[in-house]
């Protein structure tokens, strides 16, 4: 008897979705792009992909998907990548390491979306992992870089920076002294993009699918 194939959903409201398909299929599971409540119910686990977290939050609100998402969060394994890790953090600071604050003061620009100060504005997140994360914490695209994590060359693209981690979170890999791959229970985050540079399946996809099997 072969076991039923796992159905791994990737939130497909916006962002880097299709690049996960070959990794998921190579790890022996099925790929499914999800954006409707019915589709959420059909998956065994969910990947929150890279993209723009503000756009995803806006679309979750526009299409009334918060309840459906929370049902998945409450019962199934979830992996957040880059923007997805921002959505999963307990606290998500908005910042890009530019001279934003000086420039705003100098020009008397009012801060975006009601933010008071570029280091203190917090954006909405779902708090699945007790970590604090800073959006674009490494900087803008100019500061995007490839780095070797756990022996594998991966991309950090306008990546978020993990600033604080609660004790019960397991750090699976760090880079330059900062955790970049973490796990807590059935939740996993990577601040980098294993889907872009690694051969199929990436060790992170394999680890997530193992996690899904273990919690099934």
């Amino acid at each position: 008897m072969t076991k039923k194939k796992l159905n791994i959903g990737v939130l497909a409201l916006q962002g880097c979705v299709d690049r996960h398909r070959p990794h998921i299929e190579a790890a022996g599971a099925s790929f499914c792009a999800v954006k409707t409540p019915e589709e959420f119910e059909s998956v065994d686990a969910l990947i929150l992909p890279g993209g723009e977290s503000t756009t995803m939050l806006k679309l979750i609100d526009t299409f009334d998907l918060e309840e459906s998402l929370k049902k998945v969060f409450a019962a199934k394994p979830v992996w957040g990548i880059c923007a997805g890790s921002i959505l999963m953090a307990e606290t998500a600071y908005v910042s890009s390491r530019t001279n934003v604050r000086d420039l705003m003061q100098q020009r008397e620009i009012s801060p975006p979306c009601g933010r008071r100060d570029d280091s203190e504005e917090v954006q909405k997140s779902f708090g699945l992992l007790p970590i604090t994360i800073e959006r674009n914490g490494y900087g803008r695209q100019r500061e995007s870089h490839n780095a070797v994590v756990d022996g594998f060359e991966v991309s950090f693209i306008r990546a978020p920076l993990v600033k604080a981690v609660n004790d019960n979170v397991e750090i699976l890999a760090s880079h330059d002294g900062t955790p970049v791959w973490l796990r807590s229970g059935r939740y996993m985050v990577t601040t980098f993009h294993p889907e872009l540079t690694l051969s199929y399946p990436s060790p992170m996809h394999r680890a997530f699918i193992d996690l899904v099997r273990a919690s099934a």
Binding site: A12, G15, L59, R158
Partner: protein
Amino acid sequence: MSPKSPKGTANSGNVINLKTGLAEMLKGGVIMDVVTADQAKIAEDAGAVAVMALERVPSDIRAAGGVARMSPPELVEEIMASVSIPVMAKCRIGHFAEAQILEAIGVDYIDESEVLTPADEDYHIDKQQFKVPFVCGATCLAEGLRRIGEGAALIRTKGEPGTGNIVEAVRHMREINQDLKRVLTLDDAELMTEAKDLGAPFELLKIVRDEGGLPVPNFAAGGIATPADAALCMQLGAQTVFVGSGIFKSDNPANFAKAIVKSVAHFDDPKMVLEASKGLGEAMSGIEIAEIQDNMRMAKRGW
């Protein structure tokens, strides 16, 4: 990083996968032209994945005439300070000094754009020299591959900007799709002749044939004015849409912006596109392409 620096290593960040990687993150989104920090905030609040910082939207560039140049640096900086999403800016075709300035400012993407008056009639920018990624327009596969050969990490259609008329963007999407279909059927001997006939780099054509598609993402731009226009481009194979004058020249920019974002997220579901199309008010007024004088056809700029 200095644009003069030699070809990058993994650590310098001047590598194509980081450049195309950001474009991957922008997929399924809407990139909006904005001319002020306030417009940039309206765009971000509506769910834009990025904004294009401009001094004037294309329809105003068209109306103003004269030479259209890179936006003033202060304006680009102000827009960068106002939003948390990526900020793009345009330089003139071939004007690598403008591109160097934009890279020094720290914009996230540079559009070497036919919307501005070309600075060089023979040469596009050698984009390999830059760490910041470039997007370039293409009317067909060969033009796209020439730009990719120069280092572009993202291709977009050259729909006639500022017209609110989708016909040219559709022509370019169709053209690229037809070229792709043909190339995918060719063997190696035929591929070299195709490269000669198209004026496309052989090595890139081979990658297209072997990988079954373009080596970089492909977005739509030019003339998108309604949620239906956006859905049309997405269904023709665009992975994201740029909207220029279509938002801030409409009756109600915030509503139009939100509606186009909604439409792109569910481009293949007519009921959702219908929802997005209701209660919007007037779209920007459009221009019939045949009424535009030949020297004002921006798609003909660049090669």
